[in-house]
């Protein structure tokens, strides 16, 4: 593996960190569903998705940390919420509502599928290797979310209502996925410009939403800022749980 950041002041590392944090935070959310899914088969399916995301997170955080000698665990367990650079979409709690879980996964996996497909040809060999592996994983996640969106949207009256509510709840966070920040323009041929992911991602999601007899929400975007470390309380409480033990006993091996 190469080391990111030479000559570019760790920009590649910061870029990898953002994508890695996305995957880590969503993996943590997926983990909350195991033993709480609507059916046993779905416990297993969501477990697989969580494990894929966690694998992506570990590869990306390891790479990001190699720039300044930090491990994946240093990055996952010893940063505060304001140092996390994930998008806000992934930190939203599902509150045990499967429709929210499906809506978020549909949007996020559609975004990741477009992102990784492009990142696979990144000039950075580590990022391109991570993306080449992940692109197959997220294709499955997107399919899984699609199947469920169709069934919930076009299932019963109640499920239609709930699935629409789930979409409405996640939709304000869609914009942030495609927001430009200062990073990508400085990494031509390495990073993917998020703005170019908007059209194909929204086209895919809208197609599914239509087939599911649902409506694309018409709601104002929520303030973004996740990539810059501006997060909601949901991330703060997630990290309190996730990092509690590791922080209580620093410097040991687990």
């Amino acid at each position: 593996m190469n080391t990111p950041g030479q000559g570019r002041a760790g920009d590649v590392a910061i870029y990898a960190l953002g994508l890695g944090d996305d995957a880590l935070v969503l993996a943590q959310r997926m983990g909350e569903w195991i033993a709480s899914a609507p059916e046993l088969e779905e416990d297993v399916a969501l477990g697989n998705i969580g494990l894929d995301l966690l694998g992506q997170a570990r590869a990306l955080l390891t790479y990001a940390g190699s720039a300044d000698g930090r491990t994946e665990d240093d990055l996952a367990y010893l940063r505060g919420a304001d140092e996390f650079c994930n998008v806000l979409l992934v930190e939203r709690p599902d509150d045990g509502d499967f429709a929210h879980c499906v809506a978020r996964l549909l949007v996020f996996s559609a975004y990741q599928a477009e992102l990784y497909a492009r990142l696979a040809s990144s000039g950075d060999e580590t990022l391109s290797a991570v993306a080449a592996k992940a692109v197959k994983e997220v294709a499955y996640h997107r399919d899984h979310a699609t199947q469920w969106a169709l069934r919930l949207g076009d299932g019963t009256e109640e499920s239609h209502r709930r699935m629409q509510a789930g979409l409405d709840a996640v939709w304000p966070y869609v914009d942030e996925l495609f927001a430009a920040d200062e990073l990508e323009p400085g990494l031509p041929g390495v990073a993917v410009d998020p703005a170019e992911l908007r059209e194909p991602t929204v086209a895919y999601v809208s197609g599914v939403v239509g087939r599911a007899t649902l409506a694309v929400p018409d709601v104002p975007a929520a303030p973004g800022g996740g990539r810059a470390g501006r997060h909601t309380d949901a991330l703060v409480s997630m990290l309190a749980e996730m990092q509690g033990l590791a922080r209580a006993m620093p410097g040991v091996t687990w």
Binding site: E39, L40, E41, V44, A45, N48, D143, H144, Q147, R151
Partner: protein, 95 residues
């Protein structure tokens, strides 16, 4: 409250190319599309397969245990179907 079960599906997996699909177990799924996907998640977590079939359990017709004598015993005395039935002179190879 008890909701209705999703139907039961029988799952057949081809472990690798060149082999037949073999029965590996069963699971519940609302329809065929989900059954294939659930089978992938449940039965191939450890690279156990390259291809999956699912069949509604209710669609399988089986021979009855009660008929097993009539079905299978008549094959027992057809020893001439097996190569070991035939004597081969010593020294003859590749036969």
């Amino acid at each position: 409250m008890t909701t209705r079960d999703w139907p039961l599906w029988e799952v057949f997996v081809r472990a690798r190319r060149g082999l037949s699909h073999s029965h590996v177990g069963s699971l519940h799924a609302p329809d065929a599309e989900m059954a294939v996907r659930n089978a992938r998640d449940v039965f191939t977590r450890r690279e156990e397969g390259v291809s999956i079939w699912v069949v509604p359990a209710a669609a399988i017709s089986a021979s009855s245990p009660d008929e097993k004598d009539a079905f299978f015993d008549p094959a027992a005395d057809k020893v001439y179907r097996h190569p070991t039935f035939y004597s081969v002179p010593a020294g003859v190879e590749h036969l």
